[in-house]
């Protein structure tokens, strides 16, 4: 049984397909369990958050990135290191707000939506909302409160997928009382 295909690219592709298909099965299950898209969106965000708070440790262990000095560095690390590492894509970082506290990640293609089409009765579903939760959860663990949402989505007819990230505030570490 010798199929001389290129094993490494095959297995990388397969892994992302395994993830994509599993994600699809999850969204399908959520749509069955919840009456409306808003609930599904919320649930995806929550699940993403739970994943994010654990993923950050995995990320920090694998990359040797130190603490980011500012939000711009954070954006770069998210786009060039994290997205590349886990999803094999490198979104571009654009549309910085004048205050430097808000930016967009533009994804030319979104691996989560391979093979996916949104049916008409789910037009308000934010299919990839898990990603927002992951980013939010991960950054919270490194003391950053952020707001993350989809500004554009190829599934809903836009040309690209755009994730908008806004820095809210730095989270102070709470030391237990009496720990001076």
């Amino acid at each position: 049984m010798s199929r001389q295909s290129n094993r490494t690219t095959d297995s990388k592709k397969m892994n992302s397909e395994l993830f994509t298909l599993t994600y699809g099965a999850l969204v399908t299950q959520l749509c069955k369990d919840y009456e409306n898209d808003e609930e599904v969106n919320k649930q995806l965000d929550k699940m993403g958050y739970n994943i994010g708070v654990r993923l950050i440790e995995d990320f920090l262990a694998r990359s040797s990135i130190g603490r980011c000095q500012d939000f711009r560095k954070t954006a770069d690390v998210i786009a060039k290191v994290a997205f590349k590492m886990y999803l094999g894509i490198t979104p571009s970082v654009t549309n910085w707000s004048p205050a430097g506290d808000e930016f967009s990640l533009i994804l030319e293609n979104n691996p989560l939506v391979d093979f996916v089409e949104l049916p008409d009765n789910h037009s308000t579903l934010v299919y990839s909302n898990l990603l927002c939760g992951v980013l939010r959860g991960a950054l919270e663990m490194v003391q950053m409160a952020v707001d993350v949402r989809f500004a554009q989505d190829t599934l809903r007819g836009d040309n690209v997928t755009e994730i908008r990230m806004k820095f809210i505030k730095r989270i102070e570490e709470n030391l237990p009382a009496g720990d001076e």
């Binding site: 297995s11 397909e17 599993t22 699809g24 099965a25 299950q29 694998r62 886990y86 898990l130």
Partner: protein
């Protein structure tokens, strides 16, 4: 490897989700296992289509099983099945001595009662893959010492 991580994190979160709203009890547990298994089934069907779209037809049932043990397992879990046994009458036992989805759970007998949750999706995955290769089956899994586990496939004559 980093590209395995998203699936593992997602898989664990799916299990948490399926179980969180349920009260504990035999019937609930059974329903949850079935939900996970069904999710795995659909994914397995899709995955096997992608994996075999350019391959030649399989010679026989054993050929299919060997494919599952080698190529399919490698694609999904980055390793092959360690041992395949069969009674040549439709029952196959696939042994994985270091099952990827269990190795984070424990090494040994701790949390043994939770192991089935982590195996249900994969049972469905295998059943779905076989189904789209024209083989109807029932797939179950058994664990005694993690992270080793055995998947038992019973071929159903159509």
């Amino acid at each position: 490897m980093a590209d395995e991580a998203p699936f593992q994190f997602l898989h664990n979160e799916v299990i948490q989700y399926i179980y969180k709203s349920a009260e504990s009890g035999e019937t609930e547990n059974g329903r949850n296992i079935a939900k996970l298994e069904n999710m795995g089934f659909r994914v397995g069907q899709g995955l096997i289509e992608r994996l075999t779209k350019d391959s030649a037809r399989f010679k026989d049932e054993l050929d299919i099983m060997k494919f599952v043990c080698k190529d399919f397992w490698t694609c999904v879990f980055k390793k092959q099945i360690d041992n395949l046994r069969t009674n040549h009458q439709g029952i196959y036992v696939l042994q994985d001595n270091k099952f990827r989805l269990l190795s984070q759970l424990s090494a040994g007998k701790q949390y043994l009662e939770h192991a089935p949750k982590y195996l249900a999706f994969t049972c469905g995955l295998v059943r779905g893959a076989l189904s789209n290769l024209g083989v109807k089956s029932i797939v179950t899994a058994e664990v005694s010492i993690m992270p080793a586990c055995k998947f038992q496939i019973m071929i159903q004559k159509m």
